[in-house]
Subunit: 202 residues, 2 copies
């Protein structure tokens, strides 16, 4: 996804504007009709641009989605930057990374509305897998540091990262299923405490 | 969902057969076309029964799904019965309940194929919420017992149950996303160990 992001910087301002108009217009369509039911014709109607103009900037709907998700990811990275660089306990940092990401996803309703659609589409699945890949690598850095400085118990780091990502995704999906998106933060924090402390009576 | 199950027992054998034919035929259609794209006409074609006959037994596609999921749940209960009644450690029992359920879902590909569709449909969501409700209550019994006999650390039991269910669902969904359904058992076991032991170095 580096491609679209890099090219953005070389583009004249007028085209940059069209790019943003298309991105925002597409998202309105996605949130209203779903990703798969949205056509270039819908996006043209929403943005007031011709299908040809849209096609000259984005070759496909998948490209629009990929660029949008890259933008979201850039914003999330920006938001968690302070936390990952802080002197806080690594466990606290991981919690912040997860919560910040969950809140971001929760406040971008156009994203959570199409989230479950992604699982059924091969291109969109690639994008979503990339998202989880980024989340994994951020958590992974913290886990390794935590093991080195003795905060996190020595164990298979990959298994720990996976368990945290699964907890993250399970919380997100079940909140969506149960229509309690607004409780996703509280819910994750409660489950996070369970995972941090473990189940066994010691 | 007790309704359909109770009525099944009072139905003459010939109608019972039609019931099973419709259930099995519908599932073939669901797995092939998806739940939402399947019509009564498709089911009639698949089963060789008339749409009227099907309609006299099941008022709607949702009823077919509800009865099928009840059947699955009965089978899962049967499979985990031995484990929940065994003398094993409660932690081992919970692990078995989750793994057995995951394997069951994994070997019923018609079920996992429509799983992600459920999140978008209000009736199917009710059915899926019911499924998680049953899983929760089974795990909950074990957690309460485990706290009483000192195996599980004293903490908010609801939070612990939620965390386990989230881990379960996260494992299932991510395995599906990543096309590694055959690794769901191994994956859950690794994450389960993380949750049991916790993250903190003690």
């Amino acid at each position: 996804m580096k491609g679209p992001q890099q090219s953005r910087e070389d583009i004249p301002a007028a085209l940059q504007d069209d790019r943003m108009i298309i991105l925002q217009g597409s998202l309105c369509c996605f949130a209203r009709n779903g990703y798969f039911n949205t056509t270039f014709k819908d996006i043209a109607k929403e943005t007031g641009l011709s299908q040809q103009s849209i096609g000259s900037i984005f070759a496909s709907k998948d490209e629009i989605l990929a660029e949008y998700l890259q933008m979201c990811d850039d914003e999330i990275v920006e938001q968690i930057k302070e936390e990952t660089e802080s002197d806080a306990d690594v466990l606290e940092r991981i919690r912040s990374i997860c919560v910040t990401t969950l809140i971001y996803l929760g406040t971008h309703s156009e994203l959570t509305a199409i989230w479950v659609e992604f699982y059924k589409h091969h291109v969109a699945r690639v994008v979503l897998k990339k998202f989880f890949g980024l989340l994994r690598s951020r958590i992974s850095e913290q886990i390794v540091e935590g093991m080195e400085n003795g905060v996190i118990r020595k164990a298979n780091a990959t298994h720990i990262v996976e368990a945290i990502v699964e907890l993250f995704e399970g919380t997100l999906i079940l909140s969506r299923l149960e229509g309690t998106n607004n409780e996703v933060e509280r819910r994750f924090l409660a489950s996070w405490e369970v995972m941090v402390e473990g189940l066994v009576q010691k």
